[in-house]
Amino acid sequence: MSDPQAVSPGPVGSGRTRAPGPGLEGSTPAPEGGAERAGVGQAEVLLEVHNLQVHFPFSSGGWFGQGRGVVRAVDGVSFSLRSGETLGLVGESGCGKSTTARAILNLVPPTGGQVLWRGRRIDRLAEREMFPFRREMQIIFQDPFASLNPRMTVGDIVAEPMKIFRLYDRRRRQLEVVRLLDQVGLNPRYLNRYPHEFSGGQRQRVGIARALAVNPKLILCDEPVSALDVSIQAQVINLLMELKRELGLSLIFIAHDLSVVRHISDRVGVMYLGRLVELAPAEDLYRNPRHPYTQALLSAAPIPDPVVERQRRRIVLTGDVPSPDEAHEGCAFADRCPIVEFDCLRISPILQGARHRVACLKAGPETGNGEGQGEVSGG
């Protein structure tokens, strides 16, 4: 059903005329275009997350709720995000990265910790109080087939947030829809079509247009490309990076694909069993991973180059990710860790360090540009 013409021809962003940055509505100008890797340090702190916890209770059988337990989906995550910055969150399935995003947006109520948006606490806000903040933070979902209502036209889907926030009159909204679809590289002529008439990549663009409709400051991207074909992934990644640059957005980019995260992020956090085990500028983390889990993760990810692949030495972890419903004493990674010591089983490590933060008792000292043990070969 996907119409090849539904996407404007030409690779995304290859010199096509685009609408000016902040959209038809002249909201706050983008913080000077180069909020790139270096200049982020001075920008305003948008989002702070302190010791965020999301525990889901479950009853493991029994009629009267005996045998209750909790799944510690997110178990004490802290980070902050500056304006114009892209923070990548990586981890394997079940590590709590998606739940973290949902808890920030209050789609899942956090059970502990604090979320601050520009210094104001937004965790535990009632839906009504949360409403104004929803205009500033948006989310893009993983599954482009499930995240669009199949009974609404693409135009209605993109217009809905504007309707909810009572932005503009009807006519103007329609123009905005056209502009947004154009901005994300979809042919606006097809705004009366339904999601099932588009391919996966095109639907993901619709989801992005919907997120952009209210001019948010921050977009949480929950595995936005992992359901897409390889050739389409790059289109969406490029689109996101370009939009970020043009509109001065901040992104939290959640993915399990390490290379995609490296490509798009300024800083990267690695999650394991509901906790951040390492948080560092992308370059430092990939060049010199300090946590043994990060090292294993990086060494396990395949590189599309047979020459490099043959020379790599893999750290193959044994065992599976333990289930997050048991309380752990000590380091959660201890039972799979290749360098585990006695202390690791008793003491829970906390995230330490100034620039390159790591939660490991045995992590080496923070170095400026150290050649670490587990550096990714090649490159």
Binding site: P4, R262, H263, P302, D320, V321
Partner: protein
Amino acid sequence: MAAPLLSVTDLAVEFSTDEGKLRAVDGISYSLNPGETLGIVGESGSGKSVSSLAILGLVPYPPGRVTSGAARFDGVDLLKLRPREMSRIRGRRISMIFQDPMTALNPFLTVERQLTEVTQRHLGLSRQRAQRYAIEMLERVGIPSAGRRIFDYPHQFSGGMRQRVMIAMALSCKPQILFADEPTTALDVTIQAQILELLGELQRAEGTAIVLITHDLGVVAGVCQRVNVMYAGRFVEEANVDDLFARPRHPYTVGLLHSIPRLDRAGEALTPIPGQPPNLAALPSGCAFRDRCLRASEMCGQAVPPLTADGKSTRDGVKGGQRFACFHPHPVPEPAGAPTP
């Protein structure tokens, strides 16, 4: 090298759908040598899975139908076998593992029952021996305390462990060929590394030839010796793994390599392939990749480019001479060395 173990010629599979007849696989040919790993790379809808299902006689009919081709294995054409004869080969001499092990394992039977069933039927083992053998196989694929866990049901295993059970099942009759259809796609990277390692080890020990079907070029680079790139039901490029990554000739292959960010490099811009994945119901005339190709010319709309080699990219005269289906292939960089992507 000996004669190929399996040679597939001109295989075509058609599906009848609402939108008419679709050619999911449109005349592909390849041969598989004993003990090698052949990669078939493609995106969704490229027909990579269907092609191997067809060889194993597993294409659902209707709507699917093998319309032409032959798959010669040990002197017989697999496509002409009756279901009974096929079932004697499938699972014993040729096995398959799937992306989602849960769909291939029966949730109502213990792993022990499913493992012993195969060996009892195909190898004629007694129940006791089959059980002992099953435990041995589970131990080999790295399932801890196999003797106890063998009586568990599939849902009691994690994703990675389930895939191991699948592999144990697929390999327990020591097949000559293993079709692995996206065996690690549903798994996390650390588990993926374990499974790939395991497959490699077992291959070295048993000399099984593997056909690895995947969309992940990283996996291909690490595991395969030869690679076929598939697009819209056809092979568009066929090469040794080194040649393919160092000197890709078909614009689609080049596009794929340019659209994946690399873990070991930073800051390289990605150049995506424009357009959308092929819609089999509405393919352009001539070369199916034409409407997404930056090198396409008028000629590409008139005829389907055949899979050919030009003298330039045949390396060392080995039989993996690189072939591509394109009228305007990417040139070979003169000094052999610096990889392009």
